[in-house]
């Protein structure tokens, strides 16, 4: 009996401790998403003098034929896929380096954290300056190396603007991936490599046969986080290109923001939020599924 009441009291305290956090999370995360689902069934824009009029699925019909939305979705996908692939490769290289012992490793590890910690919006301006057409240091370096004969436009040309964005994003987020992967590398027992080497395996073989399979969970977690962040990229694009030139780097979030803030089309903006949310949820669920499988595989192999 006393055990039971004690347990009940513990549970009551537990709820009491958890509820403030839950309330804040519901207010800031759940409410806006649910509200977007509801609002997306209404037309609320300058045409209706910002009054909400129920129009059912009209907004979703409009979305299907909205080439600007599909272009922004395509841009977002290109940005996300390319930046994540490059970040994973470079991040893994960083992690492998930081996993070695060398003099000054602590300092080097600190330095690699700096890009992660700096505000994206602020460093976006720095990157815009670096990729400046006239006085940018990228053009100057390429001229000095003889790769270019005259300076070229970076942020004013669609492909190169996307390249510059991806470059800046890779700079900013590779440290995060490196930290996660380094934690994975540090958890691999050293004797695994020794045994493998005794069996006659080269370091390259050990990398493919031991390192990569054993840090698969960390790779997937990094992928999951990076995918979600990258898919919602806003500040970097807003500051570096504003979505230009001519919408060539407009991501979904830039489009949503413009729809709400510039065109004051709240109903359609809400529909865009809903669709983006659903795409994200599906993608996250897929990765989480893979993650669960990878964890089982790893423990099975061990």
């Amino acid at each position: 009996m006393t055990q039971d009441t004690l347990r009940q009291r513990d549970q009551r305290t537990g709820w009491f401790l958890v509820i403030p956090a839950l309330l804040i999370l519901l207010l800031v995360f759940a409410y806006p998403i649910l509200r977007a689902f509801w609002l997306s069934l209404f037309t609320q824009n300058l045409g209706t003098q910002l009054q909400a009029e129920f129009t059912g699925l009209t907004n979703y019909g409009r979305l299907v034929g909205d080439s600007r939305f599909w272009q922004s979705l395509g841009n977002t996908t290109i940005f996300t896929v390319l930046s994540i692939i490059v970040e994973l490769v470079i991040g893994l290289a960083f992690a492998l380096i930081l996993n070695q012992t060398f003099r000054g490793r602590g300092l080097v590890r600190t330095i690699t954290l700096i890009p992660w910690a700096l505000p994206t919006a602020v460093m976006g301006l720095a990157w815009a300056w670096i990729f400046n057409d006239q006085f940018g240091v990228v053009n100057d370096l390429l001229l000095r190396l003889g790769i270019l004969e005259t300076g070229i436009t970076w942020l004013g040309e669609p492909t190169r603007a996307m390249f510059a964005l991806i470059f800046a994003d890779v700079w900013k987020t590779t440290p995060f991936i490196a930290i996660l992967l380094l934690a994975g590398l540090q958890s691999i027992p050293k004797d695994l490599y020794e045994a493998h080497a005794i069996d006659g395996a080269s370091p390259v073989q050990s990398f493919w046969q031991i390192t990569l399979p054993l840090i698969a969970p960390q790779i997937l977690i990094a992928l999951l986080f990076r995918f979600a962040q990258s898919f919602g990229i806003f500040d970097l694009v807003q500051v570096m290109t504003g979505g230009g030139p001519a919408g060539a780097t407009e991501t979904v979030s830039i489009y949503i923001y413009a729809m709400v803030r510039r065109y004051l089309d709240f109903g359609y903006g809400a529909a865009l939020v809903v669709v983006t949310f659903l795409i994200l949820v599906v993608a996250i669920a897929l990765t989480a599924f893979l993650l669960a499988r990878a964890r089982i595989n790893v423990s099975g192999e061990r």
């Binding site: 347990r7 513990d10 549970q11 305290t13 537990g14 709820w15 401790l17 958890v18 403030p20 956090a21 804040i24 999370l25 207010l27 800031v28 995360f29 409410y31 806006p32 998403i33 977007a36 380096i97 060398f102 602590g106 080097v108 590890r109 600190t110 690699t112 954290l113 890009p115 910690a117 700096l118 505000p119 994206t120 919006a121 602020v122 301006l125 720095a126 300056w129 006085f135 100057d140 001229l143 700079w171 996660l180 934690a183 977690i221 986080f225 979600a228 919602g232 990229i233 806003f234 500040d235 807003q238 500051v239 979904v252 949503i256 923001y257 709400v260 803030r261 903006g269 939020v273 994200l280």
Partner: protein
Amino acid sequence: MLKVQSPTTTKTLISPGRLLLWVGVILMVGFCLAPVLWQLLTSFKTNAAISTIPTIYWPNWNQLTAAHYIGLGGEFLRYMGNSFFVSFISTCLCLVVGAPAAYSLARLKIPGENIILGLILIVSLFPYVLLFLGLLEIVKAVGIGNNYIALIVPYTAINLPLTILVLRSFFQQLPKDLEDSAKMDGYNTVAMLQHIVLPMTIPALVTTGILTFIFAWNEFIFALTFITRPEMETIPVAVAKIGGASVFEIPYGPIAAATVLGTIPLVILVLLFQRRIVQGITAGAVKG
């Protein structure tokens, strides 16, 4: 003779592996620091030196100036103050609300624990652009536009998942005997948390607090949307606005100075707390 010689020869010969490692280290450090150093250099160059082609990498004394920093003036200190205020308050609030929740999820077996954890994990993946429309409506309805509450509450919320996950993994590692014996001595749960657990938790709170402070300092889209009075802007928005202020003549020098000043607090945080930041990131992501 041979025994003396052999170690010296192996020392002077660097193995190919070591050489490769050092090349990698240099590339890595260069990659991470180059943009920051470039802004630092630009921020001290005169306008004439900034717009000289080919680019000047080693300016002489005549090409250096502190004018860009002086030009930013007291206004910029105000933005720093704004950012500091919002980040600090939301960090405190986040710890006050998040730590009890983390403890509850680690120790007190409440029903639905796994569902709550799963939701917290999913929520941490939401991009903020999905939230700003609904929040904007609330901000307008409640009338807290241009009020820091409109930033502090969302910042607390976006940092809660990380806070809860990191602190929960910390609480799980605490030896349970201590809490059990405190309960034997007649402490109730809340008193036990205050007097026994809280003092041991301070290092973990610092770790988490640093991360939440950095994220709050860097947040852009809410700050851009909910605060429209110029004197209330936070650093990311204020700096971005310097960049967008004039279309024809972009003030590269002041922008560079502003980026340097706006990032200095974070560079200091990284230099001081590197180890804790790494711990926090890995605990927040991996142990969730």
